[in-house]
């Protein structure tokens, strides 16, 4: 296991290196400079400023310098947010996005599992159809529509919950729900299919014949096995949440990382774009790794490192 994880971490570093290289090249191909008053600054003045920040050096030189700093964990300073350290900006914003995404994932998958379970147990009943309809709606309608509707009806009309901002539990409810709807729908669909399959399998029939209680059959024998495939979709789901937060953060004015990322791209704020890209890439790789490891733990039939460890 340890050997496997080490190997994976090795691959991870290589992947990050490739991502850093590609992002760097793509960034340098973008037109414009990170100057903030670009239409007013004359060419001569711009040269002076670019010179000061080393942006006039040949691109390979800039690349080596960037990688050198990166290796020391230095992501540089922002151009737009004058002199602010990129690491500090990421560290102040990432936890907010992470908190939002985490709860959306937990709430979404829990509710989704509940819906999927009910649908599977009461197959072809009105509960099944109801759960199906909810899932289809959840998959097909984008989260920002829910966000906007909730904000207006719950926030403005009923005045039950705060309309925007971040910090109190009340403020988190609407954004989490808006963001949770997609993972809820996906996991409900997924669990229903898996559960129906599992409940029809031979060992369940055997268990029933032996007189195991219905409760134990569903939760002990059924659910555990049906959950394994769900874990595989959690990875992509977590990633889709990362991008989903961009919109939700904007609507609810949540000071997360998504907004910063979008801003930095439109303003050519090179160091922030690189920092956020690498951060997202890192997160993604770590999530995949965790899921692979979890997979092995939950289902011992899956051997991670191969051989007989």
């Amino acid at each position: 296991m340890a050997k496997y994880i080490l190997k994976r971490i090795g691959y991870m570093l290589i992947t990050l290196f490739i991502i850093a290289t590609f992002s760097f090249i793509l960034m340098k191909m973008l037109p414009g400079s990170p100057l903030t008053a670009e239409e007013k600054v004359t060419e001569a003045q711009r040269e002076i400023i670019l010179e000061k920040y080393g942006l006039n050096d040949p691109i390979p030189v800039q690349y080596v310098r960037y990688l050198g700093n990166l290796a020391q964990g230095d992501l540089g300073v922002s151009f737009q947010m004058k002199n602010q350290s990129v690491t500090d900006i990421l560290m102040s914003r990432a936890p907010v996005s992470a908190e939002l995404g985490f709860w959306a994932l937990i709430v979404g998958t829990s509710l989704g599992m509940l819906l999927g379970l009910i649908a599977a147990i009461r197959q072809n009943s009105w509960m099944d159809y109801g759960s199906n309809i909810i899932s289809v709606i959840g998959i097909s309608i984008p989260s920002f529509i829910f966000a906007g509707l909730m904000q207006f009806y719950i926030g403005v009309e009923l005045e039950l919950l705060p309309i925007a901002f971040w910090g109190t539990p009340q403020q988190a409810i609407m954004p989490v729900i808006a963001l949770a709807i997609f993972p809820m729908a996906i996991s409900a669909r997924f669990l229903r299919t898996e559960m129906i399959e599992v409940l029809g399998s031979d060992y369940i029939v055997t268990a029933k014949a032996k007189g195991v209680s219905k409760f134990a059959i569903i939760f002990k024998h059924g659910l555990r096995n049906a959950l394994i495939p769900l874990i595989t979709v959690m990875g992509p789901m977590a990633v889709s949440l990362m991008t989903g937060t961009l919109v939700i953060e904007k609507i609810f004015s949540i000071p997360g990382i998504g907004e910063q990322f979008v801003n930095s791209v439109t303003t050519n704020d090179f160091s922030i774009i690189m920092g956020t890209t690498l951060f997202f890439a890192f997160l993604f790789i770590v999530i995949i790794l965790i899921i692979d490891i979890l997979y092995g733990i939950i289902d011992p039939r899956i051997r991670l490192a191969g051989g007989k460890d």
Binding site: P31, G32, E43, F215, N263
Partner: protein, 554 residues
């Protein structure tokens, strides 16, 4: 039922966990209500972006200048009529006969928030820092080159910063030397880049200076607290009244709470529940709120126009340019597409920006509508133009922005042009801002939808850029007459305000007669403003608003 109990328990657990984790809440709610009696002097406002920097040498954008304007004070401050009034300066400047030597006495009761007095040395330090190439400031050289003596040479590493045309004669006397008698220098002194800096404090903080509200000193009406772009909440901050401000007795607001909200619908929702006192409106909301007591439009002196690049053979023809400039239904453009109170532009200088030094008449009023929509005349010019060119069809590229409104506007303009001018094909390309700037600089466009905001209160800020030698000239307009008029205004007529103003009036007429550019509209912004908020000043340059005299009425 055992099963449903179990499920309920799981669900309940998840929910409790969720609420508990977001639990320990320390931030206070902003929507504190009033409890009868006099209204609380608290203003709640929104910004569409966070403050990128509070370092006055580095500031370039509206949000930065807004909060610098509230928390810092320069030599002068604009009043409600956009006239500079003494602030840190004790009175009007003493100006030498040739207009290049300015002596300003400073008030002796102004202090920084650490108790240090605000002195002439603070201005010298700040201005030197702004032009010093080592600072890497964008606005420093932009505002000071060609204005303060030796600024340009210093910025180009050809002179020492000590040679900048500003010196502290004593703690309370500042002596400024200009390159030439800049007539608008008085209003320039209200601009953010000319704010003072406390040398000891800035030097001590070094790289840390202005990174958050703890690393700042203030000498203005308000003090910034809880502003930290890398802190717990980088998108909310607060201004509180500065009790040490020299004019504190005039400041009525106790507190201004600011939050960043980018989504317009969220801003409107917050306004409607009473949580904020101001919300910017996008076009789709204007119809709903226009005519209500809360609805206000503020005309900005920001102008949009089509740049007609004369490197293109067809656009080099004056009749073709005139035809294009006169084909566009500008009234519909502002009423239907922009729908925010913007007005059609009929010249190269916006209205309500500067007035005649003697008669006080507005620039726009004197020169009148120079280019208006006239489709019949446009058709005539077009026919003449085509004849001169010896062609019967023309194809032109059109470079525009990529926002929704920009694309809608550009599609409309394309329609108007193609419909009116037979044989014209317009190929619209929508690109992001950075790309447009880059193509603009290289002159890679035929027609470009472009705009400009003023940097000082003088017609020159609008007109100098259309001279053939201007670094901003990319559309190859080249008129000797125009160049001469502007050059005179910026040289021999500098000390003759009336003649100089008349030169600008004449120059604009020349530019419009040549259809050097095709003016589109002057931008307004539509807002919801709580009617109980009084005394906010809207400025034509620098900080958009001044809250110094604002108060909440019963």
């Amino acid at each position: 039922m055992r099963k449903s109990n179990w499920l309920l328990l799981v669900f309940g657990l998840v929910l409790t966990l969720f609420l508990a984790a977001c639990g320990d809440d320390t931030s206070s709610d902003d929507g504190e209500g009033t409890e009868g009696g006099a209204p609380e002097q608290v203003l709640n406002i929104l910004e569409s972006a966070q403050i990128p920097t509070m370092d006055s040498s580095q500031a370039t954008d509206a949000v930065a200048f807004q909060f610098l304007g509230e928390t810092m004070e320069g030599l002068y401050r604009l009043d409600e009529n956009a006239q500079p009034q003494p602030a840190i300066a004790a009175g009007e400047p003493e100006i030498s006969e040739d207009g290049t030597e300015w002596t300003i006495q400073l008030r002796d009761d102004a202090v920084w928030s650490n108790g240090d007095p605000v002195t002439a040395h603070d201005f010298v330090f700040a201005w030197r820092r702004a032009v010093d190439p080592a600072t890497g400031s964008e606005y420093g050289p932009f505002m000071m080159n060609g204005v303060l003596k030796n600024a340009e040479a210093i910025n180009n590493n050809k002179a020492d910063v000590e040679e900048l045309g500003v010196e502290a004669v004593s703690d309370t006397e500042l002596h400024i030397t200009l390159e030439k008698p800049i007539p608008y220098f008085h209003s320039l002194l209200t601009f953010g880049t000319f704010l003072p800096l406390n040398e000891a404090f800035v030097t001590e903080k070094g790289e840390e200076y202005a990174l958050n509200s703890d690393n700042l000193l203030y000498n203005g009406p308000f003090v910034l607290i809880e502003w930290d772009p890398t802190g717990e909440n980088p998108e909310q901050w607060t201004l509180v009244k500065n009790e040490d401000y020299w004019d504190a007795e005039k400041v009525q607001l106790e507190k201004i709470n600011v939050s960043v909200v980018k989504e317009r619908s969220t801003a409107v929702n917050l306004y409607n529940t009473g949580e904020v006192d101001r919300a910017g409106l996008s076009a789709e909301y204007v119809e709903k709120y226009a005519g209500t007591e809360d609805y206000k439009t503020l005309a900005e002196p920001t102008l949009f126009y089509l740049k007609l690049n004369q490197a293109n053979e067809a656009l080099a023809n004056k009749n073709v340019r005139k035809a294009i400039a006169m084909s566009i239904g500008k009234q519909d453009l502002v009423d239907v597409i922009l729908a925010n109170g913007s007005i059609p532009a009929t010249g190269a200088v916006p209205e309500n920006f500067t007035s005649h030094p003697e008669t006080g008449e507005d620039f726009r009023e004197i020169n009148g509508d120079l280019i208006t929509e006239d489709k019949e005349a446009a058709k005539e010019f077009w026919a003449k133009g085509l004849e001169e060119l010896g062609v019967d069809s023309v194809e032109l590229g059109y470079l525009g922005g990529d926002s929704d409104v920009a694309q809608e506007m550009d599609a409309y303009i394309k329609d108007q042009l193609e419909e009116t001018l037979e044989g014209l094909t317009v190929e619209v390309v929508s690109v992001p801002f950075e790309e447009r700037i880059s193509r603009n600089e290289k002159g890679e466009y035929d027609i470009q939808n472009s705009g400009w905001g003023p940097d000082y209160l003088d017609p020159n800020t609008w007109l100098e850029m259309w001279t053939s030698t201007s670094p901003y000239m990319t559309n190859n307009y080249d008129s000797e007459e125009y160049d001469t008029l502007i050059s005179e205004a910026n040289n021999e007529l500098l000390t003759e305000p009336v003649k100089r103003y008349e030169n600008f009036l004449k120059a604009e007429k020349v530019l419009m007669e040549d259809a050097g550019i095709a003016p589109l509209y002057q931008r307004s912004r539509a807002y919801l403003w709580r009617p109980s908020v009084k005394g906010v000043i809207f400025n034509p340059m620098g900080a958009d608003f001044t809250y110094k005299h604002a108060y909440i009425e019963e």
